[in-house]
């Protein structure tokens, strides 16, 4: 097992924190009011918000956290709090850069304001990472009994497991995309992205999805290896992304955000922008369900 070295363990812990941060942070990232509040807030108030975030994360770290360690020295809880908020700030900054809420032209006060407010959900997500993604035993999952004995052959079991994964992706993606699709943030964000920037959004969606499911050590590896035989991890990530994009496209059409008269560029950018939270939701779904 590659768990041996402390560097690797730490990297996994950080990736786990990042995954938790994005899962909690993305919905608030797609909220135009938070950007506005962030850019209009007095610097002293920002310090208060940052302090409150540290306090809440410290309280959470007493029982949760992003590392696997279950016994914690009180001083270590403080250290882990600072680390968790640091990871949260970093993730929020990356997310704001990715969605171009912060660009090189953004004035410093506005950028810090947005960053501090977006860091709140990201930091909480980091601090909740371990318990959020605690491996559920697959025995708890409902399975439909095969219709006949022939369907229980090993290959078909693999196919069924792959379908379960796709199903879980679908559920996770729908749950997250449902709350974002009807809002005006999607076209707002999409229209502010230059065409080639969409490639970055796609790359980020894939990397985050892969990180949540495979790189952060959330999943029980042996179970994953048994189940994942039909799809290799990269393939599964790609297939899940296609599912997430399908979900976001469907959601946008259902909520009348896209109509056949809209230009194809708008379809493309809207679907890809909503595809980011949808693929994160899908990845979380595959772990949790």
């Amino acid at each position: 097992m590659p768990h041996s070295t402390p560097w690797r363990t730490e990297l996994q812990a950080i990736l786990r924190g990042i995954a938790g941060g994005f899962l909690f942070g993305i919905p608030l990232l797609y909220t135009v009011e938070v950007w506005a509040i962030g850019s209009a807030t007095d610097p002293r108030w920002l310090l208060v918000v940052l302090g409150l975030t540290l306090l809440v994360v410290w309280l959470l770290t007493q029982v949760e956290g992003f590392r696997q360690t279950l016994t914690l020295h009180p001083l270590e809880a403080i250290l882990e709090t600072i680390e968790a908020v640091g990871i949260g700030v970093l993730c929020a900054a990356l997310a704001l850069l990715l969605l171009r809420r912060i660009t090189l032209a953004t004035p410093l006060p506005e950028a810090t304001g947005k960053l501090v407010f977006e860091s709140v959900p990201f930091s909480l997500g980091v601090a909740l990472a371990r318990s959020t993604f605690q491996t559920k035993r697959s025995r708890d999952r409902r399975t439909t009994a095969p219709l006949s004995r022939r369907l229980a052959s090993p290959t078909l079991t693999k196919v069924r497991d792959a379908l379960v994964d796709l199903d879980a992706t679908l559920i996770g993606a729908v749950l997250i995309a449902l709350s974002i699709a009807p809002t005006e943030e999607v076209p707002l964000l999409a229209s502010s992205l230059p065409p080639l920037w969409l490639l970055l959004v796609m790359a980020a969606s894939l990397v985050l999805s892969y990180t949540i499911v495979f790189a952060s050590g959330f999943t029980d590896r042996t179970e994953r290896l048994q189940r994942g035989l039909l799809f290799s991890p990269p393939t599964e990530t790609l297939v899940a992304y296609v599912v997430a994009l399908t979900v976001s496209g469907t959601m946008l059409v259902v909520f009348q955000q896209l109509s056949p008269s809209d230009p194809w560029q708008e379809w493309l950018s809207d679907i890809l922008v909503l595809g980011l939270p949808a693929s994160i939701g899908g990845a979380a779904g595959r772990i949790l369900i």
Binding site: H3, T9, E10, V63, R67, I87, P109
Partner: protein
């Protein structure tokens, strides 16, 4: 909040209960501390620099006018030269061509932070070079 820790999952590598932090964990801690201190530093710097500077505006109209389908597109750049953010900044353009028409254009800019620049265009049916064009900020709100 949870009173008791959930029992450790049997499938996971059992926590060693180590109180010794690894080198890797210290690196994470130091990077995180630097990041947070930098953020706090930037916030305090911003407070020192911009606390008492209300919004002020500078509107620059570009010389080069684009003509497409018989309409005249006049690009402008508005800058908030103050320190604080302004909300709902109203930019008005008035084109007065003597003896001919009078045209107006209006822009509402949602948020304009201190030192922020935003660009836009006014569209006229008449050639602005043949008359007098005045572009000014008429009003704004404090958020």
């Amino acid at each position: 909040m949870g009173i008791a820790n959930p029992p450790p999952n049997p499938s996971q590598p059992s926590p060693t209960g180590q109180t010794q932090r690894s080198m890797a964990e210290w690196v994470t801690f130091m990077v995180a501390t630097v990041l947070l201190l930098a953020l706090v530093g930037v916030i305090i710097y911003d407070w020192q620099v911009n606390q008492d500077r209300p919004p002020a505006f500078d509107v620059a109209v570009a010389e080069s006018i684009r003509i497409t389908d018989g309409r005249y597109y006049v690009p402008f750049v508005i800058t908030n030269t103050g320190g604080r953010i302004a909300n709902g900044v109203q930019v008005i353009a008035e084109l007065d061509i003597p003896g001919q028409a009078e045209e107006t254009g209006e822009q509402q800019i949602d948020f304009l932070s201190g030192h922020e620049q935003k660009e836009g265009s006014f569209v006229f049916n008449h050639d602005p070079h043949r008359g007098e064009l005045v572009v000014r900020v008429a009003s704004y709100r404090l958020p």
